[in-house]
């Protein structure tokens, strides 16, 4: 093992892989970036070359106009990778959103895994997380407090469908992050047997099309802007969280405001957002997932990138695990959790 001289340097705006002269999820434009997934706090525009999964590259192309065909950008499927400066990089499923990956780096006999964002529970829209053994495990900690225990997703979806059926003159407006959460909620609704059209806000239309093109069946989707108000009574509407209390929502028939997020676990949080129907559905690992994953990976060291670092650090301390917090900047936890 390459003890002594660190070859991976944590900086406030990202992780720098020194021998390869490459950044991971940098929050500002760099020459070479490996990107774990398409959320804006991990994938930025303006990099010279991007290394990512094909799905993540497609999402970056849609959001930032990254040229997928350009030869300096390279796509790698799960299990695949590349070598640069003596470092072997490979991509492994993280279970967070479509195309999300953990990145495994091997150099001089040492293995480092960076999870990006991840979760452990089933998600019909993306490949499940894989436990990749390593020496240093770099994990997120969005829900790094033991109060966060997400209930079974099926239970939350049942709550949603129950609310629509309970008041057929109204509609249920679900606030869900435009990339990942929105499509997952739709796929889960389908899995629960809801086959009526789902009405969507224009801002998520393209991402839904992208998911469908990658083989995720979302059923029939219709645009709210092209539908008469009365036709949406008794229906499910999906929109980005910012639209929930926006003027846009006035075109809906007396909506019940719902929000799909791990933060909904805390009642006062849900109330602050004026949510009537909180749905605890998250694309991030909850406390049990975080801690059990660290146990399963069983690394020599755990590095914590962002979220409630203090809680997870304390857990590591209680379980005699070496751990440190990296304090990365620019991670936006509120919207997409």
């Amino acid at each position: 093992m390459a003890k002594g001289k660190p070859w991976l340097e944590p900086h406030p705006h990202g992780l720098y892989v020194k021998p390869a002269d490459l950044w991971i999820d940098p929050s500002r434009p760099v020459e070479r970036a490996a990107v774990t997934h398409g959320h804006a706090d991990h994938a930025r525009s303006g990099h010279g070359a991007v290394f990512a999964t094909p799905e993540t590259l497609a999402i970056m192309a849609l959001r930032y106009g990254v040229d997928v065909e350009a030869s300096h950008n390279q796509a790698f499927g799960y299990g695949d990778g590349f070598e640069r400066g003596g470092v072997r990089f490979s991509f492994h499923p993280a279970g967070h959103v479509l195309g999300s990956a953990q990145i495994l780096m091997e150099y001089a006999g040492e293995r480092i895994v960076i999870t990006g964002d991840y979760k452990r529970r089933p998600d019909p829209t993306c490949a499940p997380f894989e436990v990749v053994p390593c020496d240093i495990f770099i994990t997120e900690a969005t829900f790094g407090l033991p109060v966060f225990r997400h209930p079974p997703t099926s239970q939350e979806i049942a709550k949603l469908i129950g609310a629509v059926r309970a008041e057929p003159d109204r509609c249920v407006l679900v606030g869900a992050y435009a990339l990942g959460k929105a499509q997952r909620v739709m796929a889960e609704i389908r899995a629960a047997g809801w086959d009526a059209p789902i009405y969507i806000h224009g801002a998520i239309e393209k991402m839904c099309t992208l998911y469908t093109a990658h083989g995720v069946d979302l059923g029939e989707l219709r645009l709210v802007s092209e539908t008469d108000k009365e036709d949406m009574a008794g229906q499910i509407i999906v929109a980005p969280p910012s639209a929930l209390n926006d003027r846009w929502s006035r075109r809906l028939p007396d909506p019940v405001t719902a929000m799909a997020s791990g933060w909904m676990r805390v009642r006062q949080r849900a109330r602050q957002r004026m949510v009537e129907l909180p749905l605890v559905i998250s694309d991030h690992a909850d406390w049990d997932e975080l801690t059990s994953t660290i146990s399963a990976v069983n690394p020599r060291e755990t590095w914590i990138t962002h979220g409630s670092e203090d809680g997870l650090l304390r857990w590591c301390e209680l379980h005699q695990r070496n751990a440190r917090a990296l304090h990365l900047v620019g991670r936006d936890l509120e919207e997409e959790a």
Binding site: R120, E130, V131, L145, S154, V266
Partner: protein, 548 residues
Amino acid sequence: MKAFAALIDRLIYTRSRNSKLALIADYLKHTSDPDRGWVIAALTESFDFPAVKSAMVRTLLATRVDEELFRLSRHFVGDTAETAALLWPEPNKLLPFRGRVGVGVAGQLEADGPTTSREGEGGLTVSQAVEALSSATRATAPAILASLLDRLDADGRYALLKLALGGMRVGVSARLAKQAFAQAFDVPVDDVEELWHAIPPPYAPLFAWGEGQAERPDLADVAFFRPFMLAHPLEDATVDLADYAAEWKWDGIRVQIVHGGGQTRIYSRGGEEISAAFPELVAAFDQDAVIDGELLVRGDAQGGEAASFNALQQRLGRKTVSKKMLAEYPAFVRVYDLLAVDGNDLRPLPWTERRRRLETFVPRLADSHFDLSQVIEAADFDDLAERRAGARDAAIEGVMLKRRDAPYVAGRRAGLWYKWKRDPLTADCVMMYAQRGNGRRASFYSDYTFGCWSDDGELLPVGKAYSGFTDEELKWLDKFVRDNTVGRFGPVREVEKSLVLEVAFDSIHASKRHKSGLAMRLPRNARNPRDKTAEEADRIATLQAMVT
């Protein structure tokens, strides 16, 4: 416990009054005794279990959860009961992933198992919880609470801890609960109000009567509440003083004092008992009678007369009162009606007759704490209007007009009682900040903070208005806010200081809480945005001259 937990969970997220009523009514209809009685008591007055306090809950948690993790979590959640409910380990249930991790490198962990409920048959009921908590002593409380928590899921634990610690904060007043009861069993809300305080929780006889399985409970020898007779605003009408008697409308709080069955109780307008806040009145009221009057605080400035509402506010909402409070803000009641005396119900009698008896009754009370509200001897309506306009007493809010031949009937009946408030004060203020409203107004910036100019030319907030706007005006104002936003602080938008609103308010008082040193009572929009520039808005000094 499960149905109770579901109910409070729904109530937390429900903002509309009608939906709250429907939720509670539905719960009362579909839950059996005594659970529903305990629950409604918990929702309205919050129990007191002396042995169970939040410090004790924190100590108990420390035996199950790392203290540092509890501290971090409590800091994030902001509420001890909720933090404890979420953190309490589930002893009968393996954590979803335990025993499966490390099975295979690529194996996905199954999280979505069937929903486990430990509250099927033989589950914990609300009454069992109440019984256990009431029997707890300081020594036994931790073990008792722990065993209860062990039998519940996270939502159930939240409900239990809220029940045990009080402070439910689900926006349900005693009045709302009574209305829900009336709605659930289709009985008159006036009857519910009368019976409510006469029967202790869990109210079994009340439910039996509501469901038509028993007679209306007998209220002899109980200090029960009589629903108040209420007034309509007079608006632009006039009345003939031959038919109506006029009295001053006092700016205190309306109370009913009831003596019966050896007990004296003071009820507020909403039918909530407030005896504990005014022990001197309870002690001084020693007659077998029921009076209706205005509770006021004596003001030094007015030479022993009633002080402004601001002084009275110091005495409201207290569970105990210090000697200092009693001395600084002495309370008294200005009596204006007599509902019962010496065992006789006077409510069916006309006002003239009740008034005659009231005048002979009031001298039986200690004049240190009770006086008679005088009838205004006006020659005619115009004379009355003139007296009303000239009244500048801080405690006078306007004039009451009571039909001379009317009995005392519950609620607001047309043509019997009118209130004729003094014209409101107004000021031209500049809109400073805006926030979105609730419910139907959730997408509109409908709550405004407005300010006036200090001597140094600084705009200082003087109040906040939520009402008085038509839908059209609201639309216009919403657009103004969006087009003129200069800053955002969470949900609050700061706007360009250019729009002048005419704000009406009942009175204005000195307040240490605001930088302007002023607080308005009942501010609301008086008129459409004014055709004035911000510089022409009123100055703080002008408002200070209106302080009472």
